[in-house]
């Protein structure tokens, strides 16, 4: 990024801070913005992802739905203040297609499963309705709404309603769109997510959740990306992958370890 661009975004960030605080300086900047990576993505967003707004998340391909879910969940973790529950409204078809949520898997991404309320519904209309209901509840940390495909009911009006509800309650609403093409809508930002090759761990083991992100639309700025970011559960922050390595360049796979040695501490049951 050029220096001029960086200065510009820094200025934007300051303006946003001043706009958001309006009387209580210093506090609201962290309240109205969710830090993504404290770097170029935050800069492109003008200081972070807007809290209390609607964000739409698309998967690049059908195979990336799980990456989109993971990214949304990471955003929800970053958005939810400690102790506030997260509601995930999910259409049944999503679970049939991509599997049911696993508690340990949620915990491994940084969300305490006990703080998640899952609402499983059959049709998209019910999903949108329940999502709208949840978006109005200010006691929540974040709301994930996941209808499948492109339901007719999810029109501009409904998106606008989500945005207004989010603004009124201050709850960040993440609209997951598995099986849908990106279309103009009422969201504050629109993202496209693909699974990114992770920086490998020792012994060529798969690494942390890594996402290839594109900011397709941003209501208060230009689109941005692509970025490749790794989710850091411990700091609740995205980071650039530790070491970028082209997976195609990796030589043929060797077994991760002599099995006997590894099973010694992984033996379960």
């Amino acid at each position: 990024m050029s220096t001029a661009k960086a200065t510009l975004s820094a200025l934007r960030q300051r303006i946003a801070t001043i706009e958001a605080t309006a009387g209580t300086p210093g506090v609201a900047s962290s309240r109205s913005r969710i830090e993504i990576d404290r770097d170029c993505v935050d800069a492109a967003l003008g200081g972070g992802l807007a809290r209390g707004a609607l964000h739409e998340i698309h998967a690049a391909t059908g195979a990336d739905n799980i990456a989109a879910s993971g990214f949304s969940l990471a955003l929800a973790v970053a958005a939810a203040p400690a102790g506030k529950p997260v509601v995930w409204v999910r259409q049944d078809y999503a679970a049939r297609e991509g599997g049911g949520l696993d508690g340990d898997g949620l915990a491994a991404l940084g969300l305490d499963p006990a703080a998640l309320i899952l609402v499983r519904l059959r049709d998209p209309l019910a999903v949108l309705r329940a999502g709208g209901e949840a978006a109005r509840c200010a006691a929540l940390g974040a709301v994930l709404v996941e209808p499948w495909g492109e339901p007719k009911a999810l029109d501009l009006t409904v998106q606008r309603r989500f945005q207004l509800a989010a603004e009124a309650s201050g709850v960040t609403v993440l609209l997951l769109r598995p099986g849908a093409r990106p279309m103009p809508g009422g969201a504050e930002t629109r993202w496209q997510v693909a699974a990114g090759p992770a920086a490998p761990m020792a012994m060529n083991a798969p690494g942390h959740p890594t996402f290839d992100l594109t900011l397709l639309r941003h209501r208060h700025g230009p689109p941005g990306g692509p970025w490749r970011l790794e989710w850091n559960r411990d700091e609740k922050l995205f980071k650039p992958p530790a070491l970028l390595r082209d997976p195609a360049a990796v030589p043929r796979l060797e077994p991760a370890a002599p099995p006997a040695e590894r099973t010694a501490f992984r033996l379960a049951g």
């Binding site: 799980i66 969940l73 599997g99 209901e133 379960a268």
Partner: protein
Amino acid sequence: MPAEAPLVIVEKAKGAIAIAAPDAAAIDLGLAPGLSLAEARARLSDLVVAEHDPAADDALVEAIADWCDRYTPLVARHGARGLMLDITGVAHLFKGEAALLDDLLTRLDGLGLTAFGAIAGAPATARALARSPRRIVVEPGCEASAVRPLPISALGLDPVRLQALARAGLKTVGDLIDRPRSPLAARFGADCVERLERLAGILEHPISPRRPVPAALAERIFFQPIAHEDDIAATLARLAADVASLLETRGEGGRSFEASFYRVDGDVRRITVATARPNRAPKAIARLFHEKLDALSVPLDAGFGFDLIRLGAFRTEPFVAAQASLDGHALDDEAVADLVDRLGARFGPERVLGFVPEDTHIPERRTRMVPVFTLGEEGKAQWGELPATGEPPLRPLSLFDPPEPVEALGEVPDGPPLSFRWRRVLHQVARAEGPERIAPEWWRDGGPDRDYFRVEDRKGARFWLYREGGYAADRPQPRWFLHGLFA
């Protein structure tokens, strides 16, 4: 010839079609239950025959029992066609016991039903006396004298013992009551004496109501039946306020509320809402009913209107008033509980779920989804320790149940796959970690061991695969499954 052709209800008994229930005209013509249809037809040519439908009979009695709730919440079924109402303390609302009985039987008559009834201080007494059309009301303490003239069949004993009693010259209940009990018990069984004492009102025998009794109940009776949606909503709001104040005096909150709508034509519709925590806020309760009524798959049909609407709090629990702490956490919890209630009322409690950890290593059993309503303390259960700082997720975000079979190619027998085909797409494995062996729980179902691998393909998608059973010379090719997806 009677004006109407006699009707008989028939059922199949012991391979022949026999009369189950003749109507009054048929009885007059000498037909009796148990007579075979062929013989009845031989006697009477113009017989109207209908098939016996026990389920429909049962449903009718259930419906009548529902309807009887308007008199008392304590209604019990008795036998196939009997209903027992505990009217302790409610008779004065209907201007006395006799008036209540008259009202009940007249209304049933108006619905086209033939019903007999009696009121007595003991259920068995009332039951025995209800066989007569005379609408008997037994004064308290007079049970024994009231049952005296009844035949011994009123005891409800089996035919063998009834015959034995008859042979002994004991024809009426009065013959038995005056006799010493112990010889009776010795000769005809202890339950004979017990039944006798119940009949005479000496022995207490509580009825078991068919429906739970509400802890708090409010109702509105309308002289002009109401049918309009707004009127119903307003009524529910007022009833909710009544129930809430009843609950307040008890220091309790309700976990489940039921509204019953009594339609003019005798139909009763019940609608239940549940709450995640004890609740007694009238507005919240009314709102839950609004949500529920709005989302009913079979809408509330007012027909010609409801003449009675009743709201009861069933399961109640001690209510701890929310105190606004300085950080506002308690109020937040309230707001979340309210949201859960509303979602539960609209979409069904089984669709609003929380995650509960199970103490097991089997991945598909580890997470149990439990409706938030029934969650209680286990909802706060700890999920074990997280993976160590800096360690990537070792468990996938989503799990397939059941795991999906894949075709996998491995390089070395115990190693991870080189490539695998899942849902018709070939994935080239770039990185892998494993195996992590998870043994089945032998005390539960056994099955082969599983060797799990965390795998990343060349495009960057991460999977959780397992191989069923280890390699061995005598074993066939191992099977591979895809169990979950990592973000």
